[in-house]
């Protein structure tokens, strides 16, 4: 078969990991790759802590009534599970860790546009994490991650500490998004047009748009909540003429687009993984690219679908329900295009691909159940039940976390220069898929049978399903533990990784593993695009939209 060399012979160069030693070289680094690694370690720790809270929840819910904690403690545990997972893990995870590492490499740049802002973003994350820790240790927090008024104004838990933490984390997110937008506009290598970029970057672009436009509103929301608690301004208090539903508008104006911050980068990773492991050019490049932007924009129009039963006007309710159906369209386009990409491909079921396939299946379920919930009449029955809990875990965990794991396994050799144990990797992927479905499919049933969310106690008839869900959760926990172990093992004694273990056409694979400090000794040859498998492996791509 005709082979064009993807790996040119290069002189030995110093990798970014070896370029400087000592903790100061990491603490004061301006290298986007090191910043990405620090983020990766940090968000992974957050994932494990959030996961620990999840395990506690599932232990408590194993039996009706008190199992291991009081109701007040339970409220705190599920609140912290939500806060840590949403703000400390999922929102920064893919963009700040993997995006930071790979965005400059994928556009042939030496770094992001504002390296000092980048390290500042990281330290803002750390500060936000410290405030979160303070909130946990001082009085805990029991409002649910959504902080609805009036309870969040009245509760004696550490709402102010947590509000400040979220404000700070918000700015970490804003600065990352800002940095990425400028980087993509201004630092692309000569000859790399917008439609020559890998699709991961279109996803990051859409994400960055949302980060910059939506996050300030959660900032002002937390400030107003703090003002309400300290000065009792009254804007959310009906006794003083205020409106508690207004808080919900403020909160969800950010938090709905935020869920697209969570899923879009994952979708970007799926584009990379599926093309690599099916060895095919992506089907419908421009459709996928524009759908990322469409999701970002449409995501701003639908926040009221979280508020159907809050007391908002019927006019608003109907408008939001109507608009919610549109936001499904670009996501569906992506799923169809990824599936078509695999047609007639040479599918390799390596670990990253197993996670990507899980994503396709689980995200579809999650997305479709979102449509059920978008239908106003159905939502009136399903809102605040376990159906909603199952829906968002299918999209956030079945979607984003699967994509995150796909990306982690895919890019691990590039970032660390080591391979992990492939057998354990595949085993982990299968066990996570099984554990996940056992945990959350049961919750769809629980919800439709009427089990409310955030409830500490429940009727005995729900016990069998809760127990099944808990078993699934414990399987998930055990599997994540195994994953942690084999990743650590890889760092200590994993096989040395070649430049391109997967035979991928992506630009990041045309530089050594791990990359040198300035990313490339020789910039990639742009006559070979990131998906041009046909040119290298000799078969014709399917007819697709002009790439």
């Amino acid at each position: 078969m005709a082979t064009q060399t993807l790996d040119a012979h290069r002189p030995a160069s110093v990798s970014y990991l070896d370029a400087a030693k000592g903790w100061k070289s990491w603490a004061y680094t301006l290298d986007h790759k090191r910043i990405g690694i620090m983020y990766l370690i940090s968000v992974s720790l957050a994932l494990l802590v959030g996961g620990l809270f999840a395990m506690l929840i599932r232990i408590e819910l194993f039996e009706p009534g008190k199992t291991i904690m009081t109701a007040e403690t339970y409220n705190k545990v599920f609140t912290l599970h939500g806060i840590i997972m949403v703000f400390l893990f999922i929102i920064p995870s893919i963009p700040a860790a993997l995006g930071n590492f790979f965005l400059p490499i994928m556009i042939g740049a030496k770094d992001v546009a504002f390296p000092r802002l980048n390290i500042a973003s990281y330290y803002l994350w750390v500060t936000g994490a410290v405030f979160t820790l303070a909130a946990i240790l001082i009085n805990g927090i029991d409002t649910g991650w959504t902080f609805y008024t009036p309870y969040s104004v009245q509760t004696h838990t550490s709402v102010i500490w947590m509000g400040l933490g979220i404000f700070i984390l918000g700015f970490s997110s804003i600065f990352t998004g800002l940095n990425f937008l400028v980087t993509m506009h201004k630092l692309r290598m000569p000859g790399l047009g917008w439609f020559d970029m890998p699709l991961f970057l279109w996803a990051i672009y859409g994400t960055a748009l949302i980060q910059v436009l939506a996050t300030p509103v959660i900032g002002i929301t937390t400030l107003l909540l703090i003002a309400e608690r300290t000065m009792h301004i009254g804007i959310f208090d009906p006794a003083m003429g205020g409106d508690p539903v207004l808080f919900q508008h403020f909160f969800w104006f950010y938090s709905h687009p935020a869920v697209y911050i969570m899923i879009l980068p994952g979708m970007g990773i799926i584009s990379e993984v599926i093309t690599t492991f099916a060895r095919r050019h992506v089907f419908g490049y421009r459709f996928i690219a524009f759908s990322s932007i469409a999701i970002a924009v449409l995501g701003f129009l639908v926040w009221g679908h979280h508020m159907f039963v809050s007391g908002q006007s019927e006019v608003a309710t109907m408008v939001f329900s109507f608009l919610t159906f549109f936001v499904a369209i670009p996501s569906a386009i992506k799923v169809f295009n990824w599936t078509t990409t695999m047609y007639r491909g040479q599918i390799a079921l390596d670990t990253p691909m197993l996670y990507a396939l899980s994503f396709l299946f689980l995200f579809s379920i999650g997305g479709l159940t979102g449509i059920f919930l978008g239908a106003l009449s159905v939502d009136v029955h399903l809102t605040d039940t376990y159906f909603v809990v199952a829906h968002f875990h299918y999209v956030m965990m079945g979607g984003t976390v699967m994509a995150f794991l796909a990306g982690l396994h895919y890019w691990w050799p590039k970032m660390t220069g080591r391979m992990y144990n492939e057998k354990l990797g595949r085993l982990g992927a299968v066990l996570i898929f099984v554990g996940f479905n056992v945990t959350f499919l049961t919750q769809f049933v629980l919800g439709s049978q009427g089990m409310p969310r955030r409830y500490y106690d429940y009727l005995p008839k729900y016990t069998p399903l809760h127990q099944m869900s808990s078993f699934g959760a414990w399987l998930l926990g055990a599997t994540f533990l195994m994953m942690t172990i084999y990743f650590i093992q890889s760092l200590r004694s994993g096989a040395k990784a070649p430049d391109n273990p997967w035979g991928s056409m992506g630009f990041e694979w045309r530089t050594p593993s791990p990359p040198p400090v300035e990313n490339y000794e020789t910039l990639p040859d742009l006559s070979l695009g990131p998906y041009d498998y046909g040119k290298v492996y000799g078969h014709k791509p399917t007819a697709e939209a002009k790439a």
Partner: protein, 225 residues
């Protein structure tokens, strides 16, 4: 950003030199990237304050008479003077940026000083305004204790929003004072020139945004007709 010369000798202390970031293609690339990034930051500020304006519109549309009545207890003259003060400071700031673009170092320094004086004046006037409100009991929330029979009974919402919005704006003025002072120090060290004046430009843009927000705050609180 190293200032080691190409020959590897010791850094020269004669003239401070800005070095274009190594990841940028050239100085023009760096300049446009900096401005682009700063406009994105200003977009976030617009959305931050914008949320407060949304709250304002919601409550003004719900309680129009209360807002009208309550606003009469604000001092229109003080608000108008503050508006003029900020407009003048915007003018001097814009002229300062121009001075840095044209290598007029002394003029730059004086214009920055005048801008700072205007900023301080604004805060002083605000201080007196707040003091008067507090004395009358027009405080936010449950400290709202008006004591004249003609006082608006439900003004706590108006004054709550007044204090939060002008307060946040005031904090931004304070931030601007810090930023302009920082630029002033650098300007005295002759660190700006027609080749490198970006920090002056960016601080200027921030300051204009502070003016912009006040341009809307003023009529919405002080001029409810």
């Amino acid at each position: 950003m190293s200032d080691v010369t190409a020959e590897g000798g010791l850094p020269e202390k004669k003239k401070w030199q800005h070095h274009v970031g190594h990841h940028f293609a050239d100085a023009e690339n760096e300049f446009t990237a900096n401005k682009f990034g700063f406009w994105l930051f200003l977009a976030t500020e617009i959305l931050l304050f914008g949320g407060l304006f949304v709250a304002y519109v919601v409550f003004r549309s719900t309680y129009p008479m209360t807002f009208h009545e309550a606003h009469e207890h604000l001092s229109k003259p003080m608000g108008a003077i503050n508006t003029v003060v900020l407009i003048c400071s915007s003018f001097t700031m814009a002229m300062a940026v121009r001075a840095s673009q044209t290598n007029q170092h002394r003029r730059l320094i004086w214009l920055l000083v005048v801008t700072l004086l205007c900023a301080f004046t604004f805060l002083v006037i605000k201080f007196f305004e707040y003091k008067a409100k507090i004395e009358h009991g027009y405080l936010p929330g449950y400290w709202y204790t008006p004591h004249l029979p003609t006082d608006p009974a439900n003004g706590n919402l108006f004054f709550g929003l007044y204090f939060v919005m002008t307060g946040l704006h005031g904090l931004h003025v304070l931030g601007g004072i810090v930023a302009i002072s920082w630029i002033l120090v650098k300007a005295k060290k002759r660190q700006f020139s027609s080749e490198w004046y970006t920090p002056v430009e960016l601080v200027g843009m921030y300051w204009h945004l502070v003016d912009l927000i006040w341009i809307y705050l003023f009529p919405l609180f002080y001029l409810i007709g």
